[in-house]
Each structure stands twice: as C-alpha cells, then as structure tokens.
Amino acid sequence: MSYNDNNSLTRRRFLQLGTLGTGALLLPLSTANAAPQKFRSSARIVIVGAGAAGLALASRLTASLEGADITLVDARREHFYQPGFTLVAAGIKPVDYPVSRTADYVPEGVRLVVEPVAEIDPESNRVTTESALRLDYDFLFVACGMQLDYAAIDGMDVRRIGSNGMGSIYHSPQGAHATWLEMSRFADRGGVAVLQRPDTEMKCAGAPLKYTFIVEDYLTRRGTRAHSQVIYNSNNQALFSVPIVSEKVRMLYRERNIQMNYDRTLQAIDLDRRIATFSSPQGKVQLEYDFINVIPPMKAPDVVRNSPLPWQTGAWANEGWMEVDRGTLRHVRYPNVFGIGDIAGVPKGKTAASVKWQVPVAIEHLLADISDKPTDALYTGYTSCPLITRLGQAMLIEFDYENNLMPSFPGLVAPLEELWVSWVMKTMGLKPTYISMLRGRA
C-alpha cells in the first residue's frame, strides 16, 4: 500500500532511503573490520599467566597466527580486573565488580592448563607445572604478574584486613571490600589515617595516592575532617615518579592539609594497639593510627625468582623482575622469551594500560622472528593512571619512560586538571576497554 499523492513520500521509497543511509553508515565499519593477515606457523607458544597480559596475548596471537600451538597456564579460575579494586575500596562498586572467569576470555583453540607453574627452564625451553606436566616451547611469554610480600611486614596478618582500623586494598576483591567497610566506619568517627607505599616496584603507583585522596574526601563528606589527620608516607623523596605529577599531587595534598612524610618504609605493625613502625633516615618512627591502608612490598613470584630470568644485577635483582629489553619486552639473554606486564623489569609500566601497549609490540617481534621480516615496533613506556582526587573527579595522567606526559585527548582532557570526565572514564569506560583488550579487540 502506498500513498500516491504527487509529492509525498511513498513508504517504499522511505524504506529504500533508510536502508541506504544505514548501509552507508555501517560500510566504513565493516571494511575496517577486515581480518588482519594471518601467519602460518606451527610454533609452540606457552603463556605463563592468564591475567590481563596473558589473555590479551592469547587473543591476539590466535588472531595473528594460523596453526600455532598456544597454551595458557594459570592456576586461578577467577580473573581479577585489578583496576577495579580501588573503586571497591572507595565504596563505588560492589565486591564482585572486579571478578569474572578466566575461561570466559580464552579464545577457541588455545589450551588452558589450570595449574600452578612449578619451574621455568629457558635453557631447555621448557615450562613444568606442579603436576609435572612438561610444556616445551618455541616461544615463551611470561605474564605471571607479581606477589604481595605481606610477610615482610612484621606483625601483619591478612586475616585481619577490615578490622581494628586496618585495611589493605591490594589483597583481593574481598580485602578491598573489607577495607571499604572499615574505612567507612573510620570516616564516621574521624581520627588519624595513615597511608603509605612500599619501597619496591609496585603495580599502579598511583593507587596509594588515590586512596589517600579518597579517605580525605570521605572524612570531609562525613563532617569529621576537622578533628582528623591524614598522613601520607612516601618511600622516597617524591610522591610519584613523574616529577610534574608529583608536584601537582604535592600541591593538592597541601591544599587539603594532608601531611606528607618522605623516606618512610613500613617495617612492622601492631594490629592490636594500632601502631605502625616505619624505618626512616632518622631511625625508627612510630605512628599511631585509627585507620591504615597497608600496601606491602611487591616482588616477582618464586617460580621466576628461582629461574635464570630475573635481572642478575642492579636495582631489580632483589625483587626478581625479568631482565627484558625495555622497548621490545624480549628477554636479554633468552631471545625466544618475552616478559609482559607486572613481571617485566622495566621502569614504569606496571598498569593495565601499559599491558595494552606492550602486548602488540611483543607480538610484532615474535612475528618478525617467525617471518624473518624485521620490525621496529617499540614500547615507549606508556603508562596510564586515572588519579582519583575526590569522589567524582580524577586526573587522567599518562606518561612514558622519559616522564613526558602523553595525553590521549590533548586540548580536551587536561592531564593535570581534576575533571569529572576523567572520573567518568574510570568508572564507566575503563573496564569495558580492559575486557575488550582481553578479547584482543582493543
């Protein structure tokens, strides 16, 4: 049926125009989505760790290689979206927000071995699991992340996270949630909040600062700020490794009356009497606290420390990070081994955003090996930190190895400006982007 008046639109013509219009919109999307050229290879690739880096590697390798034998090894069935821990600890997201299942992201054709790795032997090109399963490889990606060394703090007991003023947001989603509840109780009463960071490399060096801002904001919102103290203890002479950011944070802390101590390292804690003992150039310093967020020293997992993979000399030999080239992520002594993510012994780069940039670079170099065509892909140290400065605002801080700021939205989203849009990115945009990265789509 159509209206056949002279000038009016017939239904059929309208539908035709609509379809054309929609098609025109979708055409550029479909051509851009053409699958990248796949390399034929029967290489055996083992990926140790199915976290952010491991899963992103598996997805992209599957998309780039035809016929390769890819094995993922990770003992934990749950996948943690770790950037979400801060939001849970801030009471913004529920305890299950960071939790999903590793199996949901493992691509077709990739073998998932759900076991701990017992030994990595790059001399023999072999990874052995706890059940003595031997995985021989042509290429190895170590993406096992790091371990939290709570034992290094005398008196610390992770079972007491969330009680008597002690919290620890890094421990686990449950730990972050318990920390939130305890912090909230503290904010209702007020008192002395002690925040710190370890003297080792750590994942997300911004999180200790973010939580300090968040605690201060809650005290203000609950009306208990006036009789409270917020004390941040840095492990060295700065608040952050990027000088311009460190200065900005210093100025913000100063505005908000957050006390700053430098060269302090948490050595011991008395969980009953609520006393934190720090080492400092002046000797031992004790701080009484009503609330403390304990961030432990961090180091490489034992399986890497017990292998020849870590730096043998220098600043990272003690902590056990892998000796990789900072631009290619390729191991310096074992060219068929790569270290991606938190385990990589590179300056900066222990964030999910760094993984997003490291993964394609490492894969380019693997493909270069397989195809004998060189590549000049380089990871320049990109690290991103949406630094929450109060509920509802954050500074989107991005930088490279040389401490240059590298804003993604220059002119629009200023890096050193407290903005709502940056908060929106953190609360709405980051997790979907992260999940897309796991699936190899971002």
Partner: protein, 124 residues
C-alpha cells in the same frame, strides 16, 4: 589509549552496554531522525504547536539524561571541574533534549498521520 579506532570504540560500547542494548540504541538513533525527516517531507512544514510541545518535554528529557548519566557513572551533581566537564554535560543534555524532541514530534506526527489515513481510506 593509542588511537581512537571506531571499531575499538564499538567493541568497548558493546562490552559496556551488551550487544542487544547497543543495537537498540543504534537503531533508535537512526530511526528517530529518519522518521522526523520523513514526517517533514510528508507534511512539507514544521508543525509549530507539535514542535513546541515536543521541545518542552524534550527539556525534561535532557534533564533525565543527566540524571541517568550521574547514576551510571557513580557521580554526584557537583563534580564538574573544568571546561571539558561542561562540554560533556552540555553534550549529554543536548542529546537528551534533541533525541526526546525528535522522538515525541515524530511519534505524535505519525500517529496523527496514520489516524487521518484511516479516516480517509476509500471504501472497499
């Protein structure tokens, strides 16, 4: 972020909203302006009273869009910091206003048109 690839953006929004809601929004976003344009072409004018009514309710739509945004991003209403924030607030309000206006105008207009067509149908 390295580059703002439209495919990546689509993947991220799909992850955020889920495929059904994303496609529903896209379809709505395409159908609404098309229905509006078709109505304009058909009536060959803008019906002022209908537009006025639609715009008035559209203002509410803009406000609701901001409330929705605050909810899904766990924000308050005093979080605006710099110019980029006002830009986003304006964009969201504008999208809500324009979308609601076009939708109401189109629905009202087409409902009227189809009712008239029913009255004028030639007897069988």
């Amino acid at each position: 972020m390295s580059e703002l690839d439209p495919i990546v953006l689509l993947a991220v929004f799909q992850e955020m909203l889920g495929a059904p809601l994303l496609w529903l929004l896209i379809i709505l976003g395409i159908i609404t302006p098309l229905a509006f344009i078709a109505l304009l072409l058909r009536e060959r004018r803008l019906v002022a009273s209908r537009m006025f009514y639609s715009q008035t309710v559209g203002l509410l739509g803009g406000g609701l869009a901001l409330v929705l945004m605050a909810r899904v991003s766990s924000s308050g209403f005093t979080d605006a910091g710099g110019p980029a924030d006002w830009l986003l607030i304006g964009l969201i309000f504008g999208l809500g206003l324009v979308g609601t206006t076009l939708m109401l105008y189109s629905i009202a207009g087409w409902a009227q048109a189809l009712r008239r067509a029913g009255h004028h149908r030639p007897s069988e």
